[in-house]
């Protein structure tokens, strides 16, 4: 019994640290979600899917949510590992990286606040949000690990 309890405690601690100690996996998952949200938005821009204001809002919210606190998932010591494509520039210029994420957060918040009712209104807020991807990746991301 004692062994089981100890084992359980050990497993909990391990699981706990595993979640906490995997900032690379966590930030990857967050960015992956942004990509999925982007996929829905692009399908509407390209009119491969009818415009749905709820899908637009939800997608912008997913992006906004991912931007909150994401910079804390790039602590010192996570420059390398599990195929990260984070660029060295993040750690050379953390202030600039933070600014880029604050901008992403502001642009997605503005898109949500605009509540675009139709496709044209949506396209007007989509452009500034989408421009964040390349602008940030150009400086702070590698093409591939």
């Amino acid at each position: 019994m004692r062994k089981v309890i100890l084992g359980t405690i050990a497993a909990c601690i391990f699981a706990g640290t595993a979640v906490y100690a995997e900032p690379i996996a966590d930030r990857k998952a967050a960015m992956k979600n942004v990509g999925m949200a982007m996929g829905s938005l692009v399908k509407m821009v390209k009119e491969q899917m009818d415009y749905d204001p709820n899908v637009a809002l939800l997608s912008f919210a997913v992006m906004n949510n991912a931007s909150i606190g994401i910079t804390s998932l790039f602590p010192e010591g996570t420059e390398m590992g599990i195929d990260t494509t984070a660029g060295p520039k993040i750690w050379e210029d953390m202030a600039g990286f933070n600014t880029a994420m604050v901008k992403f957060q502001a642009d997605t918040a503005a898109a949500i606040a605009a509540k675009p009712a139709d496709l044209d209104a949506f396209k007007a807020v989509f452009g500034p949000v989408a421009a964040n991807c390349a602008a940030c990746h150009k400086v702070y991301r590698l093409s591939q690990p």
Binding site: H137, K138, S143
Partner: protein, 306 residues
Amino acid sequence: MLKALIKLAGIAALLGVAVFWFLTAPNPLPANMLTGIENGDVQNGELVFFAGGCASCHAKLGAKGDEKLLLGGRHPLNTPFGTFYAPNITPHLENGIGSWTGAQFANAMMRGIAPDGSHYYPAFPYTSYARMEIEDIADLWAYMKTLKPVDLSNLEHELPLPFRLRRGLGLWKTLFLHNDPIVEIDENDPQLARGRYLVEGPAHCGACHTPRNLIGGMDKSKWLAGGPAPEGKGSIPNITPHKTGLGPWTLSDIAYSLESGFTPEYDSFGSSMVSVQENMAKLPASDREAIAAYLKVVAAVPTVKP
């Protein structure tokens, strides 16, 4: 006897120098190719400019919007051979190429030869530009002359001694500078021909996407299979149709990624590919489709893990 030997050794050494000098001599374009070089078309020249990605290296690092047309150089390229600084290619008379002739421009682009006859380092992708049509070079030259002069002097490259001797590049050129097509295609398919022209010529995709050998030549057996980044950290993606490359991508996935910067998973390009993609977005859709068609017919090569 000894005197005779010394004499013989001296003659042999002189002969060696002569052979080296002969083999490393610049080999300019034949004059009859250059008859129309000063009569280019500015409008097409602008498209050639974007296809060639000139601004990605010759504009200052991080240039945005109209700054990308200020080609004053000084953009560093950190390579395993040292740091190269892109030169000023604006029409500025002293610091740029404002005093050049069209023939000098064409020889720089297609033969890697400077107006003074010296060799350019292949950090300037003339081994790809060598495959361009002379008409496109003429059009590009006409467009270059319309750009704003920038008064910025060139920086010296930072290279270790053996690489500072440019004459030896003549030997390198005999190995790696030629204009034969790299991939065999169905020559009757105009779309494939256009795609091959763009990828192997002006767009110089292989300059990053093909791994290089020890002396910096492209390893054609791994054409477009990716490899270590020629500068900095990370690696360059495999863009052959292999499953570890663009295998799962459709033709429209490839064309759309060049237009928008988004992959089929709606990840977005990073690093230097962002500025390449911004250039590709300026080309007609038919050119991006031609590039996609070509990328689907090159040999599928597995990614080599570093």
